[in-house]
Amino acid sequence: MTMIDEDELSAAIRGAADEFEISKDATDRILGEARKGEPGLLRFRVPEYFRHQSRALQFLSVAAVFIVLAAISIPLFRGEISPTKNKVAVSGSGFRPVTRNSAGLAAKGLSPAPLKAVTGQLGVIVTGSTTQNAAVLSPKIESTGSVDLTVKKGQVNSSLTKLGGLATGDGGFVLSTQANARSHGTGSFSSGTIVLEVPQHLFTKFVSQVQRVGHATSVLTSSSDVTSQYVNLQARIGALNASRQQYLAIMARATSISGILAVQNQLDAIQSQIEQYQGQLNVMNHATTFGTLTVTLVQSGQAQHVTHQRSGLSKAWHDGVDGFIAGFEWLIRLAGPVLFAALFLGFLVVAGRWTRRAVRRRRI
């Protein structure tokens, strides 16, 4: 292989390089700049920690930052991806979501405290029953239902008022109402929903009354017997009360402070359990005292959302279309976090390269 002689090459290069004079002013300029202070050549200062770390440590540091950011961002995305979980937890009841017009109502079914007063749009106030000495042996029934009504045009508002009046007339109350206008500026509502609570023993009769307010397109009622749970709760509370009495008797005889404290601890625990069961009992009491009926009103002539019973090819076709749309929605939903992750990774790569280049320059 042909190779140029090293001495010849060295001599030639030296000869070429030594052919021009070096400017004397240049060194003075450099010294002048140096005397002025730090030259502003690099505006970005790599932190001392990174400057003297090996590449592996730099990589680990970047990875640690990435993990911390991921740990922060992933729960945020989870919260966005599945908002229905939160909605369900907030609405709390088994009915379709409605807009509550009283803050206290939102807690229905969640708070162990009894519902003392419930305010509806019509201003009805009813005191809930908290009687513990109700007849234990009488059956405890929870009733719920929904009725879809079609009313004449412009009568949605009056029908809502009428339904509220029916409920209060039977000793019940309005839990919530929601009225929707079809278009702005019309002054009347085109549809509405009202949730009514009526005494349990009048529930069936009340459903019949409601159907007469308009043309019923759908009626759905359901009842469940919760007597056994009710009795069970009462028995537990009774047993705990008995224990409480015994501890109180022991406490009366206790002489030492440590003994009193020990008994007091037990009493506190028992009291807490009693209150918990009592709360459940109160909720159950309310649910069995009042039946809940959701009435949806739509004025005639407005298209209703009717669910047809499909079968065969039609059902398969619609299922397929629904599945396709669901898959598409899922893809769009997924695209957000993926895009964020891609952008973030891209940013990390660019920042990493830039930092690496800067570090290498700073090492000089």
Binding site: L9, A17, E19, A26, I30
Partner: protein, 182 residues
């Protein structure tokens, strides 16, 4: 512990290293003004980051590392986007002493051969055969392994041997030697 460096030290650096650094940069960049620019910037940069000198074993490769990095930066950013001056214009700056035609021819040939080398090979050749750095020092200066330096030097010498400008230079030299001996 190393004492803190003052401007007097910079003056010493300049006395010892500036001329050779400028010529090194000139061989790498192929342009006198670019070379002076690069070396001024390199010295200011070296001065600014003089604290990193304590971590280097030797001053010379450290300084050349700054110079090479600055030259690389210029090659990457500035030089490709600017019209290069012609060789003739460059030669106007050549200090004319004796044997002017021969010297101009030598400069032309060497610079032409170097310019035709890729930058990474040109740098190692200049550092080895002009700046007189060892392979280990070059490795420090260009932040590569010693084996890489060795292979780059071999490749550069192989290419230079095939370059017509240096071949003619070698043949001229051999002819003139024959004339002297004959």
């Amino acid at each position: 512990m190393q004492r803190s460096l003052g401007v007097d030290d910079l003056e010493l650096w300049l006395e010892e290293g500036y001329p050779q650094s400028v010529r090194t940069a000139y061989l790498i960049l192929g342009n006198r003004l670019d070379a002076e620019d690069a070396v001024q910037e390199a010295f200011l940069r070296a001065w600014k980051f003089r604290h990193s000198l304590s971590k280097e074993s030797s001053f010379k490769p450290w300084l050349y590392r700054v110079v090479v990095n600055t030259c690389n930066s210029k090659l990457r950013k500035e030089v490709p986007h600017r019209d290069r001056r012609s060789d003739e214009e460059e030669l106007e700056n050549v200090d004319v002493r004796d044997n002017v035609p021969d010297r101009i021819a030598l400069v032309n040939d060497v610079m032409s051969a170097l310019r035709d080398l890729p930058a990474h090979l040109r740098i190692v050749v200049v550092l080895r055969y002009y700046a007189d750095l060892s392979e280990r020092e070059i490795a420090i200066a260009i932040d590569r392994k010693q084996g890489t330096v060795k292979s780059r030097l071999n490749e550069a010498r192989r290419r230079l041997a095939l370059h017509p400008a240096l071949r003619s230079e070698a043949s001229n030299k051999s002819i003139s030697e024959e004339e002297v001996t004959g």
